[in-house]
Every structure is written in structure tokens, then in C-alpha cells.
Amino acid sequence: MQMFRNTCPRNCYGTCSMLSYTENGKLIKVAGDPMHGFTQGHLCAKGYAYTQYVYNPLRLKYPMMQTKRGSGNWVRISWEEAYRIIAEKIIELYDRYGSNLASGYNKFSGNLGLLHYAVEGMFNSIGPHTKSFGNLCLATGEQAVKESFGNLHSPVPEEMAQSKMIFIWGANPAVTNIHQMKFIYKAKKNGGKLVVIDPIYTETASKADLYIQIKPGTDALLALGIAKCLLGLDQIEKTAAEWNGWKDYQQVLKRLNLATVAEKTGVSIETIQELAALYGEIKPVTTWNGLGIQRNKYGGVSIQAINSLAALSGNLHIANGGVYFTHSNYEDFPMNLLNFPEKKHASIKSSRMINCANFAMEAKNLQDPPLKLLWIASRSPLSQDMNINVWQELFKELELIVTVDLFMTNTAKHSDIVLPAASHFEEEDLNVGYWHHWLSINQKAIPSFYETKSDLMIARELTKKLNMLRPGFSTFPYELEPKDWIELELNEKVQALYGLKSYTSLVDGPKPRLANQKKNKHFSFIQVDDVKTMLHSLLLETKGEPSPYPFRLLSPQTLLKIHSQFALISWLNPKPDETVIEINNKVAESLGINDGEKVKIHNENGAIIAKACKNQHLPHGVVLVSQTGENSINQLIGSQLQKQEELSSTHFYDCFVSIKSLKHP
């Protein structure tokens, strides 16, 4: 039996280092890595299912082409053929339009390994093209955190164990970040308390010493309300006056009406005072901004209001206090593939950028040249994205769609060519988390599954092909091996940061970032204008006409899948994928809906059928829908911001629907 170190590259808080055991080139077992200080030798269920994932009979084995797109008429082709068709198309488009702008890619978080930026590197190497930018999940929050602190930072999660009070706003680590729970329990064991504020009574909420149910999207208001009480009690940070916007913030708090806060948030004045007492009297308090609170239009304001509360209460700069969100440790790295220098073009200065939050719409409207070739990697927009209709329209305009994936996803089904991707056990990589502060390696543990290839391998071979057909078309250094790219990432600065001597130190175990992130003593309070806009808009909400779509649709991450990934793994999801909608008991009764019954969920963007499930703890105006691979709920989520100018993530939770029993039409 042989052992290797791998790292789970999923878009997840864990970024778990894992040990894989192989026998005769077959993966027989995976285990957590005891050398990893955050996971401490554990994996989540999805991690333990990799032994089945890797050998799933549904995995794509060969490059395939579909004669008529969407027909399901697939024929197996050789890699050579695939490269030739793609390369010829790229060159033909270049010749037709005089640049590569008609070729573009859409890539996201399917695999977060640093070597997967080979896609970006490959496109950069052929000169200006069309690329996506932004972060679907995090942009709003990142922006807000930067406005508060000047940079994106998040403390070391292991330190949460020493906190005396943990406030979780809209995060559900029991489902999405299970490794964090043991540190929370440790804090509880040492006498700390856990408070969860969430519209949904989540698994984490059920473990909390104190749970506060709040109306969705009103976190900012509650944070301001608590701050007002603190100010009244004069339990505030002495240096607060030195920070940006203190006077205005103070004014905002003074003018705030607690009764309005209680009414809008659904949290009683007594409870607000109870929370203020906790924030004010106990130290250190840890605050955690969950991704949930930023998935609506008040997301940015909410995060800033919560940050301001943490600052005001004097928990910002003390040990084991602070505010958690996500960090950007990857910025320490040169990111040679992502930042691969763009090949110069005679007249076009740089690539066309499309905000990935509104990719389909913007891409569809591109002119001069229009987008004609789309390369999709590490994601399935037809499962995950909003505006799935628009995507379908975009697809009609495209001449060649290439999808690289492990499985035949919804997106792959609508592509011309699918290329089978390697799993992380079949490639080398380097991984940095965005929650914990560890760096770990990913070794090649087993030979490729059939003809699968890594993104880097594909980039190397495709650029080589391009240059064969048209010498000098790409500048990509295709002779470099994965190890070379990894070593390039581990430059002197990174080596010092992680106390590494070389590549091999990581083979012996993951390494923590030694230097603490520079804690900025600087802080900016939430701005008055932002608060005013929010208040104004919140007040308007109630005055409007009764909506034809009375229920806010929330679609948080489910336990055994990450978006549509893992949906096909029978260990985890033995039953066929089924969309389930949770509805408050009383509401369900008033609509005549029984448990297990099929209902229709619809709004102006479309309709889907789901199985109803009563949930006594759900707010009346909220329904909860699980994310599935097929028949995705995201097709109901239209974009509220047709022209999203700012950098912001998708407001997945600002979607309203109506529900109908199928029994009585």
C-alpha cells in the first residue's frame, strides 16, 4: 500500500489535506491528514466518498463530440482530433475577426488548485480574448470587508476555541464548514457561549446556546440596534473616536429607533438588549459574517454594520476576538498561471472582461466581434447560474462550446465538445484555503482515469497544437511540468511565510502561514448614506402592493453536495436527485399542501416542480429549496441587477416565488 498527500480542491472552507492510500495504482482509501492543524485528521462525508467518486462509472472517460448540439448524439474522438478541431476554430476566428476576442472562457470554482489557473494562462498566452472576472459567491462580502478594514483578512479559525462568545451571523458551519464545529465546541467546553442569528433554524442554530431568528435581509438593522444599546450603556471601545466615520456612525445610532428595528427584524427590544449585554460585557467576542447575509441586496451594508458593531464593542483588536469572513492568502503567491503575461496584440490593448455575475447577458450582447467560442471549465453554469434562459440564448449564438468536466453536467450536455477532466488524485497541484491559513500540496496518487487530463495538461497540449498549426500563436511554456509550476509558486517570499525549504517540505505535511496577517489598526465605520438608503428601501418594502410572489426563496448549500458536484455519487446521494421545498407548517396548511406532496414553484422567470416538506421553524414568508444538479432551482432566480456595474456577487436570496399545490389547479 502506498500513501500520498492530496488536497480537496472543492470550493469549501475546508480545503482539507488528505492522505490517500493506493494499491496497484488504485485508490483504495482516503483519510484525513493528522498533520493539518485545522482539520486535525478529519474529512467531511464528501471527502470520504472520493474512493467512490474517482471510479464512478458515470465519469467522463474520453473526449467526445456531439454532432448536433443538445442531441445527445455523442461520438468518441481522440484528444488529437479534439485539439485539432478546437485549435482550427480558434485560428479561424482569429483570422475572421483579427483578434482572439471572439474566443473566451468562463471558469469558476470547481477546482481551486493554483495550477487550475492554467485555463487563464492558456488564454493569456494567445493574446487579448474575452474573460470572466469576479466572484459569484463572495464579491459583495469581500468588498464590504475591504471597506471596513482596508484589506481582506480573517483570523486563524483555530483561535475561535479560545473565544468566550461566538456570534455567528448567517453561517451554518455544521453543514458547510464542519471542521470549525470542534473549535466552537471547545470554546463551549471552556465556558464560552455560541449565539446564532439566522432566519433559518439551521443545524448550527440548533447547537447554539442562544438562537435568534431574524427576518431575512435585516441583519444590518439588528447590528445597528445592538450598537445603539451599547452606546447607551457606554460600553464602547475607547479608541473608536479615532476611526473613520465615528461621528456619523454615532449620529446614525443615536437617531435609530429601536422600535423600528424590532419591527423590521422581528427581534424584540428585550432580545436586542440581551444581545447588547453579551457583546458589551463579555470579552473576547468572536464575530462571524456568514456568506448567507451577503446574498441579498443589503448584504454589503449588513457586513459593514456587523463589523462596526464588533469594532464598537472593543473586540476587533484583541486576542481571540475579531471578525471572520474569508481571507485572501492566495495574494501572497505569484500566481504565475493566473497572471501569465498576455501576449501583445498590435491594436488591442487588453482582453474584454465580463462580470461573471451577469456573464450570459453581457456575453450575449457583445459586438464587434461577438463571442463565438466559449471554453467552460470548473463549473456548470447551466446548473448554478441565475438566468439559465439567457444562457440558453447565449449558447445559440456560439459556434463552438467546449466543456471540460468530470461528469456529463447540464452544461456539458449542451456543448459541442466535452473533454474529460482529471480528478485531483490524478494530477499535481498546490492549494491555499480561504478560511484556514494552511498551505498544502496535491500529489499525483493514481494514473489517469481512462483518458482524462488536467487543465494544465490540456493547456500545454492545446497551445502546442496551436503553435504547430500557426507558429508563434501562443507563448505558453508548454515544456514546463506541473512540478515546475509548483516550484515557481513557492518563491522566496512564500517560503519564508510558510517556513518551507522546498517543495518536499509540503510532501511531509501541510504548513501553516507563520506570519499573522497584518492586522490593520485602521477601521472605517459603516457610512451614513448606506444606512439611509437601506432604511428607506426597507420602509418602502412594506408599503408596496401585495406581491404576486409572496415567498422569499432561500437555497443554501446542502450537506452532501457542493452545488451540483457530488450529486451523482451514490454513497452520498443514494436516491435520485429530487428538489425539495420546505414550507412553514401553518403556511402549508393554509395553502392545503401536505408533506411529501408535489408543488409548483414559479415566478416570472419560470417554474419548477418540487416535493413539499413542512418545517415548523421556518418564517412564514420564506421557503427553502435544496440545490440539485438537474432541474435546478436557480432557473427561477433572475438577475435583479440587469446592469450590475459594481463588483458584487449574485444576490441569490433576493428571489421571490409563489407556490401552488398541484392537486387543485
Binding site: 438562537y211 435568534i212 431568528q213
Partner: protein, 183 residues
């Protein structure tokens, strides 16, 4: 000399993450429908159950082939070579521990990872549980006044005397939204 290995399940800690269940599969490569360990959700919380290696195993009493045995450390094993697939044990066990494998036509069940334990390792499920909700104890030498012998959702323990003890879910403070009227 007497020893009875058993599970200690902390219902207050379990988050229902199913890492234990899937780690069991990763370790034992059980066939599709065979679930040696099962995580379930009730109105009160989560449960993670496998064979409880009972002090009085009913599975064993009813087996016509005498396919069961109990090790001196208390682990109850079924010898699949002796099993004819009659499934009487499945009906006798209150905990749905014995599982019928449609691919082999035999019954199998949790063996408390005795091969791992014999090497000094913890059972795979216990090893995988990051919240310490699932632990291994020697019940002959375990005493904690906080622990109870059964909790909500556990079938009657009287006849089999399962080798599992529990920490129940504690009371906590909740402020739910007060809805003015339902639509």
C-alpha cells in the same frame, strides 16, 4: 478481564454530517444498499447508529446457522461464510444493524472495525467524527452520571442491552420570530 467495547454517542454534539457513515464505506467498501452505519434525523436531533454489539445479541439467538460470535472484547461478528441469507437476524435486531447485501445474498454488519482496532486504530467512524459526537469506550470501565442508556429515537433496549450510551440533547434558549398572522 472482562471488556465490552461500545459507542458513546453525544446527541448534543452530533451535527448529522454523515462523515462517520461515509468513512465506514470508505473503510469497508460495502455495496450500494448496505449501510453498516446510518445517520438519521429525528424531530429532536441526529442519531448515528450501527450494530451495538449487544450484551444480549438477539441476532445471534435466532440465527439457524450459528453464524454469529462475540469476541472477548465484546465485538459481535457475523461470519458471512456461514450466512445463508435467511435474514432472521434482520428481523430480530431492533436497530436495523444487520444488512442484507443483494449482491452477495448474505447479511453483513458493522464489525466495529476490529481489524483496525487490532492494529491499535480507532474504528473508522469514530476516527472520522470531527465533533467527538461518536466515541469508543470500554463500557465495563465507563461511568459518567451525565450519560444515559437510551435517548429519543432509540428502539427498546431491554432485551438486547446494546453496548452504546448517550449524552442527551441539552435545553437551549431560542427566540423564534413571532408571526402576526399566517397569510
Amino acid at each position: 478481564m472482562s471488556k465490552q467495547l461500545g459507542f458513546l454517542f453525544n446527541a448534543d454534539h452530533c451535527i448529522g454530517c454523515t462523515a462517520c457513515e461515509i468513512a465506514c464505506r470508505n473503510e469497508n467498501h460495502t455495496n450500494r444498499n448496505v449501510r453498516w452505519r446510518k445517520v438519521s434525523k429525528s424531530s429532536e436531533g441526529f442519531l448515528s447508529l450501527s450494530c451495538n454489539h449487544c450484551n444480549s445479541p438477539e441476532c445471534s439467538r435466532v440465527c439457524p446457522e450459528n453464524a454469529f460470535m462475540k469476541r472477548h472484547d465484546g465485538i459481535v461478528l457475523i461470519d458471512s461464510n456461514l450466512c445463508t441469507g435467511c435474514r432472521l437476524c434482520i428481523t430480530a435486531c431492533p436497530y436495523e444493524a444487520p444488512q442484507f447485501d443483494y449482491e452477495t445474498n448474505k447479511v453483513s454488519k458493522c464489525q466495529m472495525c476490529y481489524p483496525r482496532q487490532d492494529q491499535g486504530l480507532l474504528p473508522a467512524c469514530v476516527d472520522a467524527c470531527s465533533t467527538e459526537a461518536l466515541q469508543l469506550v470500554d463500557l465495563e470501565n465507563f461511568y459518567d452520571p451525565q450519560a444515559v442508556s437510551s435517548i429519543f429515537g432509540i428502539p427498546d433496549i431491554r432485551i438486547t442491552q446494546p453496548s452504546i450510551v448517550f449524552y442527551p440533547i441539552s435545553e437551549k434558549k431560542r427566540h423564534f420570530l413571532v408571526e402576526r398572522s399566517s397569510n
